[in-house]
């Protein structure tokens, strides 16, 4: 795997964690009177939204240069990173069961990523090949 893909992957993970962190700070700091929409204009919340738009665009770019099966397990580390940031920077009480939950979800995403990206394509190829044979193709 080339260095470009690895840098993109690191950027995707960090942008997601930073975006979620900023959005959390912004939404928690927003006054209750602000309402659900005006709260999004709080500086930290707005910064979080910008970072998450950047995350989405960089993830699209990463999917152009790397396999989905490479991207999914590595970016699933984000579940653990988000829990770690909640504990370290926001002072959240992350219990042992919550850590276990985050690790299980990461494991689940990693296991899913080990499967072929497009199961239907194989089936369609088999059907197309069968149709071709029935049609008298060599």
């Amino acid at each position: 795997m080339n260095a470009r893909a690895l840098w993109h992957t690191a950027g995707v993970i960090l942008l997601n964690a930073a975006g979620n962190f900023a959005l959390t700070v912004g939404m928690k700091r927003a006054p209750a009177a602000a309402g659900p929409v005006l709260a999004l204009l709080q500086p930290f919340a707005a910064a979080g939204i910008v970072l998450l738009i950047g995350w989405m665009l960089l993830r699209l770019r990463l999917l152009q240069i790397a396999d989905l099966s490479f991207v999914l397990p590595l970016t699933a580390v984000g579940y653990i990173l988000n829990a770690a940031m909640g504990a370290a920077l926001l002072g959240e009480q992350v219990t042992l069961t919550r850590w276990a939950g985050a690790f299980l979800i990461t494991g689940g995403a990693a296991l899913t990523s080990m499967t072929p990206a497009r199961s239907r394509r194989k089936q369609e190829e088999r059907e197309a090949a069968a149709t071709g044979r029935e049609g008298g193709e060599p």
């Binding site: 939404m27 829990a83 909640g86 919550r98 979800i105 494991g107 995403a109 499967t115």
Partner: protein, 104 residues
């Protein structure tokens, strides 16, 4: 606590609808209305996520939304007729177990 899980449910439902519409639209036709409608669902999902972050911990909100992986795997099999092998079911089961741990 109830509101937290209601918002998680809204996020999972909206994300699932968006992904199904996108996937179905791109493969089976109807992309002209399914993809724009999916963006409406994505916006609703993101808005629900911002409201969840207002009342819940970050360490809860992000993993909890992974419940969509479970629902989407089931619906991918039933609606999109995808072939889901044991590893994919296993991955969904692990994610479900993880979300269940968050609920404790």
């Amino acid at each position: 606590m109830t509101l937290q899980w209601l918002l998680v449910g809204a996020i999972v439902a909206c994300t699932t609808c968006a992904d199904l519409l996108q996937s179905h639209g791109m493969r089976c036709g109807g992309a002209r209305w399914k993809v724009p409608l999916s963006i409406v669902f994505l916006a609703a999902s993101f808005f629900s996520f911002t409201q969840l972050l207002r009342i819940a911990d970050l360490s809860f909100a992000v993993p909890a939304t992974a419940a969509s992986l479970v629902v989407e795997t089931v619906l991918a099999r039933l609606v999109l007729k995808e072939q889901v092998d044991w590893r994919r079911w296993g991955g969904a089961a692990l994610a479900a177990a993880g979300v269940a741990l968050l609920a404790l």
